[in-house]
Amino acid sequence: MKEYRDILCPVCGCLCDDIEVNVENNSIVKVQNACAMGASKFLNFSKERLKNPLMRKNGELVPCSLNEAIDHISRALVKAEFPVIYGFALSSCEAIKVGIELAEEIGAVIDNQTTVCHGPGVQGLQDIGQVSCTLGEVKHRADLIIYWGSNPQDAHPRHFERYSLLPEGRFRGGKKDRKLVVVDVRKTATARMADFYIRIEQGKDFELISALRALLRFEDIEQEQVAGIPKEKVEELAEMMRSCEYGVIFFGQGLTQTIGKDRNGDNLFALVRDLNKFTKFLVMPIRGHYNVTGSNEVLTWQTGFPFGVDLSKGYPWYNPGDTTVVDIFRRGENDLTLVVGSDPLAHLPRRATMHILEHPLFTIDPSMSLTAMASNVVIPSAFYGLEAEGTAYRMDGVALPLKKIVEPPEGILPDEEILRRILEKVKEIRGK
């Protein structure tokens, strides 16, 4: 039996790096320190997985060889006039690099899951900027922690324990020294732990932020209620924010997926910026998938833009709403879709994704997804952080090494290698 320590958990953006894993006969038999989601992945990942490349013939997905699959995909990519490559939040940075090179080579749009998680936050950042920090800063200093439209107890179960409310830092001794505020439309598991729970009217985040910002400028609010909250309570929250020593807001998709979208982030960042007149205040998006941050980082350093990058004209162009997958799919503009480790059919609106089925749809994924079920060709891939190594970025931009602890099933390659083979094949076809 082999015992591994300091293993990264390849599930959520917390990217906990203290997991201990026991491996026996190439199989994980014990996991320590992981949350329920992490443990479920470590223990179950090998159960429901694809073992063979599949190709749709006469309407049915049937096994085929890897070469056949790569050849088919590559030929279609060369032919496509507006292909989309989508995914990468569950991949390594090294794989993303190859994905970008492939997109550049064939003139594709390349987008990642940011577009439907924190894309609006990024757009807000691009208007205002963002006052932020690494998670350890929060651990050492924060005395006011606000979760706004985010529910880490469900989505990032160890966030409290490792980074925010509970850890003992240099200047704070854990929960007793911190105040927890939760702003949400539902009484989530996180909200139930709050010292101050603010049930905000659905879709009124922007109004509450505007009111707080006006209060910080010592303006009076000419309304009895804001976002369903009595004015006095809003004033109380503003005072709490202004008078803390070190505050931080962790915001989630409650803000980014609600009406207002990019402007919610925009106004929230402005609020936090303004608070720095009075005290130290920071803001951080709680990112979902374990390497969605990395896919932004790599795309940004190679093309200048974090997601939704259109390379069809030989140079990078970016404008969410134009170059993002939901919009391209909805308008029916792409004539090929290559999905890498994502499940758009499960998670994007059907009114958008139904169009991609009119054209070739290819999926690279370790396990069967809805998208894989509906694809023309499916190539199974290795799990990063379990069967393959690589780099991933935590939600605060700290890069960490994903490790290989078991061998993938025979013939199963990581995304990086599959994409490289496709890229080589594409170059070969175009060279002819």
């Binding site: 006039e81 003139g107 208007d127 922007f206 505007s210 400028r217 402007r263």
Partner: protein, 275 residues
């Protein structure tokens, strides 16, 4: 006067980048040269002629240039980009970035348009007979410079964030507006004849947002200043009375938000705050 007519040969799947279709560009070129201009269909560069049948008519010494375009152009982008004179007439629905960075001349669309109509426009006149999408007369991401000058008239509705970061010019929307008309506005005027879905004037620093129809609510970061009988939009006088709000106070703004009194009885509660 040169009149050049383009009609779409057949529908297409990928987006079509038509930035070469503008009056300045056509004016300098012969018909044959125009036919050979390159446009992007998805990731392919094709000739204009591959996509449109192109005719030139009615050449006279007087006037400059008119371009007529017809067909379903809902996947076309960037027609009239940067143009400074002449006229473009589009018959059919149209896609994104109409008249981007336009400096002068006129564009008329008989149909609906997508988003970013008149993005970063500097001058000229755009009229859309149907509805327009989001980010009308606005800016690109990260750019804090929206429309600077010129006039846009939309006969139908507009989507969200019309006139974002606008600093000059006039925009009239005869139908309804989505949320955030005049967001981050620094100057200029937007007039919405119909209803507004909310958050009018958010983060505005200066300029005027005028809503003639119904508004559900006013942002808490605005305060009422007065009731005014009428307001001017260019040389047009719009009869009120209007509630006049100042904001956005969260950005120390001094913009003016006009909301019609008669169509918004639920805002009567604000009258007690009038100084």
């Amino acid at each position: 006067m040169r009149e050049i007519k383009l009609s779409l040969k057949e529908p297409f799947i990928p987006p079509l980048d038509c930035s070469v279709i503008n009056t300045d560009n056509f004016y300098q070129n012969s018909l044959e040269e125009i036919k050979a201009l390159k446009i992007w269909r998805g990731n392919r560069e094709v000739s204009l002629e591959d996509v449109f049948s192109i005719h030139e008519e009615n050449i006279s010494e007087q006037g400059d240039i008119k371009i007529y375009i017809e067909g379903d152009l809902s996947k076309a982008r960037r027609i009239g980009q940067g143009m400074s004179f002449g006229e473009i007439i589009i018959k059919g629905n149209y896609g994104l970035y109409l008249g981007a960075h336009m400096k002068g001349g006129k564009i008329t669309v008989y149909g609906d348009c997508g988003s970013w109509v008149g993005v970063e426009m500097e001058g000229g006149f755009i009229e859309v007979k149907g509805n327009v999408g989001d980010y009308l007369a606005s800016s690109y991401r990260g750019t804090t410079k929206g429309m600077k000058g010129g006039t846009i008239l939309v006969n139908g509705n507009c989507g969200v964030e019309a006139c974002g970061w606008m600093s000059g010019g006039i925009v009239k929307v005869m139908g309804n507006s989505g949320i955030f008309p005049g967001i981050h506005m620094k100057g200029g005027i937007i007039y919405v004849k119909g209803d507004c879905a909310g958050r009018a004037g958010a983060n505005m620093i200066a300029g005027r947002v005028i809503i003639n129809g119904k508004v559900d609510d006013i942002l808490p970061s605005f305060k009422i200043e007065e009731v005014r009988g009428s307001v001017k939009v260019g040389d047009e006088k719009i009869e009120g009375p209007f509630y006049v709000f100042v904001g956005d106070l969260s950005d120390e703004g001094d913009g003016r938000l006009f909301v019609h009194v008669n169509n918004n009885p639920h805002l009567k509660k604000y009258e007690e705050y009038i100084p």
